[in-house]
Symmetry: C2
Subunit: 340 residues, 2 copies
């Protein structure tokens, strides 16, 4: 099978944690042993937890020797895991191949550099999607090459760069996505369209977003809570985008402790935040025009006898995740974005 | 990686040729070598051509020894390929693992039995999705077990059974699918929604369908040709479902040589055919009610400012194929079908 095939496995895995790694990039890694057998397909899952390479290395070693599981389980943090791996790997990954969607980091962050880890494992070859241009982390490919590891760059480059878009926009100041639930025939209204799995995913995103924007009409009509109760997560701060200045304070969203709420007839304050999530319907999406980077469409498995959201817009579908009987489409507006 | 992981690769490959194998089932196969490396991911592509197992065996052997390519290229048909493989495999697939979405056939059809091929290769293990209950082909798993090959059955059974649905319905008399092109927001009207890749796929299906059904209103409004010119294929016979009995014979569809056209205010004649394709819009789909097995939705990458198709219906999304900037959703009506 081709390098593209194996890197695609890493890309798809990384998408499972897209945005959930905030403020870190979504990264996936695949390891093949010296005979070309797949040992692990892993991703970075959450900021502060292990990088994709570390996760994949752990799983690959455990698949070679399951007795390592109890040893690695003792690690209380990624740093300890890193050290336990260095002490216990017994060259089990000698001559392995690493596939990584992003160039392995070369810097000491919360964990030691992934490039050093890969070298310590005795990897023969590293296939990389996107290059890391970050001032701190860059240099992993060069480090590996200088130490005799064969490095191939820019494989599935477009897809790996797309995976990095939110991260690059967080770094440059703001990433904003619009979340909407639609039926198969484009209906956004009339009761809950999303299923429990997709609502749980929404709550995960809410718990991470710096700010959540919602329209005044939605607040009055739906009387929402807009918290992250399904994952017992932090409720996001709210910007109510509305020309109205007074709302019924009995609406649940106003009664969440430690939540900041701003009411504004301008959406500009939102774009000063790094990670912004917008939930709304047709009018909101149309009015926001070109200010949205990505649109996340939760699509149910139903056709519903009702009117669709009615607007002109072209998207690129970057990825599709399955959520129970529905799906989540990760879409990019085609007329903007960092690569447009 | 799990058996489910490898069988999923075979399932996804088989979907690439779903319906195009008519009247044969869509089948996929994956082969791992003795060390667990993936050697091939193949499918049955077309009736009369090689079965999935034969295609996968050829590709696996070629990946072990590329000089076999020129030898196998000399085969003029699947039978010759089978024999060339038997003569030249040099035990390169000794102790391999086969993953097959459908139990390998045990009968001499247009090619010798796949079960015998797998045994001849020296496979150690065969992982199977659906069982073959067909009077002629069944018995492959038993044959392999009796000859010392480890066989695992019913892996990813639901997904493999779904893959077989059209085949089982062809066998029992009729499989009917409805094809519709929709925008992201459920609009079916207003010019060409599908792209070249999806239109080519439609023409492939037309060339295979025993009968194509289209509504009288569509005939008058769109003045279509309804042939398979994009693949230089046979234009299907047509049933115009209409209370009208007279049409403008200048409409291109009436001027295709060797095409039978029936005009009827009943759709019943269609369901006497084995493989029926319906192309139409909202009203047609609503009126057909529960007579459709599958709905194929070509979804474009656009939102369009227009009304949606407006009906109630619940589907199960069985698979998604990418076609250029759009996608094809393979959907099953949830309130009927062989498994419902």
């Amino acid at each position: 099978m081709s390098d593209e095939f194996y890197l695609s496995l890493a890309i798809n895995k990384a998408w499972d944690y897209q945005l959930l790694t905030y403020p870190n990039p979504a990264v996936g890694a695949v390891i093949l042993d010296e005979n070309g057998k797949i040992l692990s397909i892993c991703a970075h899952q959450k900021a502060g937890e292990a990088h994709a390479e570390l996760n994949a290395t752990k799983e690959a070693l455990e698949s070679k020797d399951s007795s390592l599981k109890s040893i690695f389980a003792a690690a209380k943090n990624p740093n300890e895991l890193y050290n336990l791996i260095i002490q216990n790997h017994r060259n089990l990954l000698k001559n392995s191949t690493y596939y990584v969607t992003l160039e392995p980091c070369a810097h000491q962050g919360k964990t030691p550099p992934c490039a050093s880890l890969i070298l310590a494992m005795g990897a023969k070859r590293v296939v990389i999607g996107s290059r890391d241009y970050g001032e701190h982390a860059k240099g992993g490919a060069e480090f590996l090459t200088q130490n005799g590891v064969e490095v191939k760059l820019d494989v599935c480059k477009t897809r790996c760069d797309e995976l990095l878009e939110p991260f690059l926009r967080w770094q440059s100041g703001n990433f904003t996505f619009f979340k909407i639930a639609l039926t198969q025939n484009g209906v956004a209204t009339g009761g809950v369209i999303s299923n429990l799995a997709s609502r749980t995913h929404t709550h995960r995103l809410r718990a991470l977003a710096e700010l959540m924007v919602v329209g005044g009409a939605t607040v009055c009509t739906d009387r929402p809570t807009l918290d992250a109760r399904l994952i017992s997560g932090r409720a996001p701060d709210i910007l109510i985008y509305s020309s109205k200045t007074e709302f019924d304070l009995q609406i649940p969203l106003f009664n969440i402790p430690n939540r900041k709420i701003e009411i504004s007839n301008s959406i500009e304050p939102a774009f000063k935040k790094r990670f912004v999530m917008i939930e709304g319907g047709e009018n909101f999406l149309r009015n926001l025009d070109s200010r949205v980077d990505w649109i996340l469409i939760y699509r149910s498995n139903e056709f519903k006898s009702a009117n669709n959201i009615n607007l002109d817009m072209k998207v690129k579908i970057l990825h599709r995740s399955i959520f129970g009987d529905g799906e989540l489409l990760w879409c990019k507006r085609l007329d903007l974005g960092i690569n447009a």
